[in-house]
């Protein structure tokens, strides 16, 4: 069965390593914080200027001065720090953040990503996404394998305006875990009960399948 959004987040959480600083984008990526594996310590960075982001506050304890990049009220963990936006993006561009997880509308087989603009629709802006994808060494995209119309989001070439080129290394979808290398998607794992055939039929870009593809363990 295909994963739901929580399942995608749960699988991505398995990629976390002890001691990492991690930037989570809006949407599915935010959920990753709920599934940090036991015994692992990570710190979450939010690009508006906080390291050591904690869970949402209890009702009545919201602080208008303490928000994340999605403008949601948050709390901080012990050891947290605040900084200005230039310092925040110095952390990102300077590759001090070990993992970036973000959503996408399209990803291409050479690692291009499109997630900020749909021609003909209201453009809201890229926020920090272009800085994040251009700078981070380790980027995981969290998204559904196909869009609502059933069209593959893993493409030969992105059709939408790009956010960054040749930058995505790994994609986790509701159907599969895929690595991007040498101009192709490499199928690493399948969602429980999802067949290789289904993944094949829903992947427009080049897909490399090597031997038996294991199921994810969640």
């Amino acid at each position: 069965m295909a994963l739901d959004k929580k399942g995608i987040a749960q699988r991505i959480a398995q990629e976390l390593r002890d001691g990492w600083y991690v930037n989570l984008g809006i949407g599915i990526p935010t959920l990753v914080a709920n599934y940090i594996p036991e015994g692992i310590e990570v710190e979450f960075q939010s690009e508006n200027g906080v390291l050591g982001m904690g869970p949402f506050p209890f009702e009545g304890e919201e602080d208008a001065d303490l928000i994340n990049a999605g403008k949601q009220t948050i709390t901080t963990m012990k050891g947290a720090s605040f900084f200005d936006s230039a310092t925040s993006f110095a952390m990102i561009r300077g590759q001090h953040v070990q993992l970036t997880v973000l959503g996408a509308m399209e990803v291409s087989e050479n690692g291009d990503i499109a997630n900020w603009k749909i021609p003909g629709k209201m453009v809201k802006g890229m926020g920090g996404a272009m800085d994040l994808v251009a700078s981070a060494d380790n980027i995981i995209v969290a998204m559904m394998h196909s869009n609502r119309a059933g069209v593959s989001k893993l493409l030969k070439d992105c059709s939408l305006p790009l956010t960054g080129v040749a930058c995505v290394k790994k994609v986790v979808t509701d159907l599969a875990v895929l690595e991007i290398k040498e101009g192709a998607f490499h199928l690493v794992e399948r969602a429980p009960g999802v067949s290789v055939e289904e993944i094949k039929s829903k992947t427009e870009g080049s897909l490399i399948i090597n031997g038996e593809v294991p199921e994810m363990s969640l």
Binding site: D65, F89, G127, L162, V165
Partner: protein, 231 residues
């Protein structure tokens, strides 16, 4: 050096039609709300506003948009604002969208005397069109230029009569860089203290970057996305 002015009316003196302003804040967090309200009263028009966001319909820069006082916005993200959308689609409002890190660094560069810098952000995308590209360490980078403003308007938690500023939590955001990049920088603070009351070790923005400081009469500090968990 005493930078204190009496009130918000004095704070915005000298701001004229068609000037370029920088306004601190991320979303509605850390915005100079007293000065924005005063700018609405003045009716000054044709403003170019450099600000990460454009407020919401009835708060923040949205108030200046409603009043059609803004000619151009330079921002990284401008959702959450219907009037903004209407003016942008009708062509009344010019919009320049810039990656957030580049926006922050362009403000910092403006204040730091660095005319331009190279960044990887935006390479291969439409925001890099027309910009010089140069390869460093095998990776292409985009040339981005410094931003300047006639006035920078920032909001701090505490300030002193010398113009030294301390920000609270994530309300710091763009405020320190914008304070550096304004020809004249106006700081509105929640609490104004005599010089010497703030610990010099803990000052975020040194007073050299601030020309005018005043204590805001009222801070609504509206929350854009109130999110909580249950006990």
């Amino acid at each position: 050096m005493n930078k204190v002015i009496n009130n918000v009316t004095e704070a915005v003196q000298g701001i004229e039609d068609n000037m370029t302003l920088m306004l601190g804040g991320f979303g509605l967090c850390g915005i100079p709300e007293n000065s924005i309200a005063e700018l609405v009263k003045t009716g000054i028009k044709g403003l170019t506003c450099i600000s990460n966001n454009a407020g919401v319909d009835d708060f923040g820069l949205g108030l200046l948009l409603q009043n059609k006082q803004i000619k151009k916005m330079i921002s990284s993200y401008v959702g959450e604002n219907d009037e903004f959308e209407r003016q942008m689609l009708s062509g009344e409002l010019e919009v320049d969208l810039i990656p957030q890190g580049s926006l922050a660094e362009r403000c910092r560069a403006g204040g730091a005397g660095i005319p331009a810098f190279f960044t990887p952000a935006g390479y291969g995308t439409e925001v890099a069109e027309g910009n010089e590209i140069r390869v460093f360490n095998g990776k292409p980078h985009v040339l981005e230029s410094a931003l300047h403003a006639d006035f920078a308007i920032v909001k701090a938690w505490k300030g002193d009569t010398d113009g030294n500023l301390v920000f609270k939590a994530t309300a710091r955001n763009f405020n320190p860089m914008m304070a550096m990049a304004g020809k004249i920088t106006i700081a509105e603070v929640e609490e104004l203290l005599p010089a010497g009351e703030l610990d010099p070790n803990e000052i975020h923005t040194p007073g050299i970057f601030v020309q005018r400081i005043f204590q805001g009469a009222r801070f609504e500090k509206r929350i854009e996305q109130r999110t909580t968990r249950t006990k």
